[in-house]
Structure formats: C-alpha cells, structure tokens
C-alpha cells in the first residue's frame, strides 16, 4: 500500500488514477496518524515552496515524515514540488526545506544567464540515466512531462540518478537511500511514468515494526 500525502497542494487525482490503472493499492491522506503507519510514501505537490512547507507544518506532518523516512527508512517518492521540499532550501521561498538530501532548489538560469530560454520549462524531455537505480531502467527510453521554473542542485554527483536538458543539463531525479525525488510528472507521462510507479511499488519495504494502532 502506498500512502499519498495530501497536504492541500496540487492535483492528486491523476496520481491515484494512474496507480489504480496499474492495480497498485494506494490511499490519499493528510492525517498524521495514517502517515505514521505508512509503509511507502508519495509526497506530491504543485505550487509554491513556502506554501508547501507551511501546509506540512500546519498539518503536523513534518516530524512524522522525518521519523518515518529518516529513522524507519520507509521508501518515499517526491514528485515536483514534493521533491523540492526534500532539499535544504529553495530560491523560491524563505522557509527551510525538509533537508533530506544534500541539495538546494534553484531557479532556472540563476547560475548562468540564458535570456532566450522560456521559463517555466514545460513539455516532454528525454532523461539520461547515468548509473543503476531501482527507479529507472538505464537502457530504456525515458521520456517525461515537466512543468517547472526551479530545479535541484545536488552536492553529491552520486545522488543524481537522472539528468535532463533544457538550456543546460540539470538534475531531473535524485536518490539517497530510501529517498527518491523526481522533478517531472510520472503520473502524466504515459507508459514511462507507469514503469516508474511499478518500480517504486516493487521496492522492498524495510522490516521495521509498524507503530501499533494504540
């Protein structure tokens, strides 16, 4: 069962639709108790960085997510803003991020001027997958739909599991242990997204005691 964290931002229906099509069990919740019992998590989201962090804070989800992800090592997949929230900070906002990966979120062209580049980057882009990763098959075509004005900047090259090119090469996906983040929208990317969700659903769940209902 995959728990999709509903913190009030973004279009979650399309993720549920695709998982349902694949026969992958999922539930949609913003309830901290249910998130605390999740065996696998998706952190979705579309919108502004500070809004995202404020909503997680307001719903009392930050500590529970930290415990479940950092301590219990539950596999988690961040999508778009959800993945950006996993970084330390974003040039879009003032609030600190969750800081699960050694990365920042920066605006397109914030480190190199490209006056002709239209931002947001909106459309389909092929990924290159530099190494082995459980999330993406290295030798398959990987074509995904992107809508974003900001992207990840990882400290460690080994955390980068996919690179895309728009004006210049940028990190399209990262992985640090059980933590995965993708900038693109697998839920809107046909069979390419379906393959990614299937691989995420097939990841083994760590053998940790689930907290009892009491």
């Amino acid at each position: 069962m995959i728990t999709i964290v509903d913190y009030g931002l973004g279009n979650l229906g399309s993720i549920v639709n695709m998982l349902r099509k694949l026969g992958i069990k999922c539930c949609l919740t913003g309830d901290p108790d249910k998130v605390a019992a999740a065996e696998k998590l998706i952190l979705p989201g579309v919108g502004a960085f500070d809004n995202g962090m404020e909503n997680l804070q307001r719903l009392g989800l930050i500590e529970i997510l930290n415990a479940r992800v950092l301590h219990d090592k539950v596999p988690v997949l961040g999508i778009c803003l959800g993945a950006q929230l996993m970084t330390r900070r974003s040039e879009e906002g003032q609030l600190p991020g969750l800081g699960w990966v050694a990365a920042d979120t920066i605006r397109f062209c914030s480190r190199q001027a490209m006056p002709d580049l239209k931002v947001p980057h909106m459309g389909w882009t092929d990924l290159s997958v530099p190494g082995e990763t459980p999330l993406l098959e290295k030798n398959d075509e990987q074509r995904f739909y992107f809508v974003h004005s900001y992207h990840f900047l990882c400290d460690r090259a080994q955390d980068v599991i996919a690179v895309a090119h728009y004006g210049y090469g940028f990190t399209a996906a990262f992985c640090r242990g059980n933590i995965f983040g993708v900038q693109f929208h697998p839920e809107k990317s046909h069979r390419f997204g379906m393959a990614l969700f299937k691989r995420f659903a097939a990841l083994s769940v760590p053998a940790v005691e689930l907290p009892s209902a009491a």
Partner: protein, 254 residues
C-alpha cells in the same frame, strides 16, 4: 529538443466536433473514446474546449471531465464556460491540470490574476482567438469568435501574460479547419512579444506546418484539430497522431 504537439478537441454537448473557420461543426466522435485512442498513441498533451458553454451561458460538464481525466495519462487542459474561481477549482478537482480562459480575459481579468496566484501560472492558459480584418490587421475576438475586442492579439497576449497566465494558445479563426498552414506572421509577432510559451493553433495540415510554426513562427508548441481527426480529401473521421521518429525528423530538427 522536443516541442509539444497537441490535439485540440472541441466539445459540443456530449460529443466531439470539428469546425471550419469556427463554423460547420461536424461530429467526430465520443470524447472518452478519443482519449483512450490518444493514450495509446502516447500523445504529448490534450486540450478540450467546450465551444458552446460560454455563448449558451452554461457551466462546464464536470461529470464528463471526470470521465475524461480518469482515462487521461497525459497533461490535460480544459476551456469553455470558465467564468469564476469556483468553476476553476471544480475543474481542477476532476483531475484536469490546466484551465483555459478566453472570454474572461477581457470580461473578468482580475479573476484570472487571482486564479494564477492561487493555482500557479502553469495552471492557467490564455486561449486567444484572432481574425484578420479587411486590410490584413488582426483582431482578438472572444465568445467563440462572436465578439470583437478591438485589440491586436499581441496586446491581449501581453495583458494575459501580465495577469499571470503560464502559456498562450493562439488560434487563427481564418485558418481553423482549413489545414492550409498556420498564420506564421501573427504567431511570430505574439511569440516574440511574450516570455511565456505560445502554442500555435489553427491551420495545421502537415508536419511541415508544425515545423514552420516552431522554427519560423517561434512558437514553443503546436496544436491542431482537423489534422488529428480527419484523413483524405473527403475528410473521413480517423484519429491519428504522428510517430515519434517522424516528429524528430520533420518537426523538431531546425
């Protein structure tokens, strides 16, 4: 570099139609069935426009949108009868991720500014229809082409960008359904005037037309209607979409 190639499907009642110069709507099929076919063809994105909602003062058919969105594993945009913020919210709840606005651009611009602020720029698409006038100038029109705005499409596009829309769907009424090629001059003028992506629409009949819209008209993406639903000179209804290899060879390459 890839460019989006987007079918624009017109809703009238519960069916899909295709027009020529915004007239002579011909029935081309069932919307949910069309979505399934476009899924199989791995289409980049779909736009649905209800061409009668605004002129008949009707709200979007949310039940139909739910059925469409539930089958659509690609980005999906809906336009038609989008008058206020609650309507936009209701549309997004069905699983559609982009909402196109046309008449509201001139009739209720502050609503659009607010919608872009709340839901994010990339959620709101300005759909701008234009017509050539007697002496070759172009004028933006609203209400399914029935109401003049006295504005050049460039001016309306700049206003829309200022209101915070994330992209512009630019549609030539004179070329609609003709399959004779895009209005490249106006496409280029609008694309060069704004920073947000412009999607060229109206007139596509071949891959060469797509190529021209991007490389001569400077559009960021291309859209078409008749090209994806008709084949042959008798315009038999058949849903098609170009193969990726052909797009790479004839459209993406400069």
């Amino acid at each position: 570099m890839r460019y989006r190639v987007i079918p624009v499907l017109l809703l009238r009642g519960a069916g899909l139609v295709k027009t020529e110069r915004f007239k002579d709507a011909k029935y081309v099929g069932d919307p949910v069935n069309a979505v399934r076919i476009f899924n199989d063809k791995e289409v980049d994105e779909l736009v649905f426009l209800d061409i009668e909602a605004t002129v008949n003062d009707r709200s979007p058919d949310l039940e139909m949108l739910r059925n469409i969105a539930g089958e659509c594993f690609m980005p999906l945009c809906y336009g038609g009868g989008v008058r206020d913020l609650p309507t936009i919210e209701a549309i997004l709840k069905t699983g559609v991720e982009k909402v196109a606005v046309n008449s509201a651009l001139v009739e209720n611009p502050e609503m659009i500014r607010e919608a872009a602020r709340i839901h994010g720029s990339s959620t709101i698409v300005a759909s701008i229809d234009f017509k050539r006038c007697l002496f070759g100038n172009a004028e933006a029109v609203v209400r399914s082409g029935r109401k003049k705005t006295k504005m050049d499409p460039v001016e309306l596009a700049r206003r829309a960008e200022d209101l915070g829309v994330g992209e512009i769907l630019l549609n030539s009424i004179d070329r609609d359904g003709t399959m004779q090629g895009y209005d490249l001059e106006i496409t280029q003028r609008v694309a060069d005037a704004v920073k947000v992506p412009v999607i060229a629409c109206g007139g596509a009949g071949s891959l060469a037309h797509f190529h021209d819209a991007i490389h001569k008209g400077h559009s960021s993406a291309v859209a078409a209607g008749a090209f994806f639903v008709f084949v042959g000179k008798h315009r038999a209804v058949l849903i098609t979409y170009p193969a990726q290899e052909d797009l790479k060879r004839f459209v993406f390459r400069s």
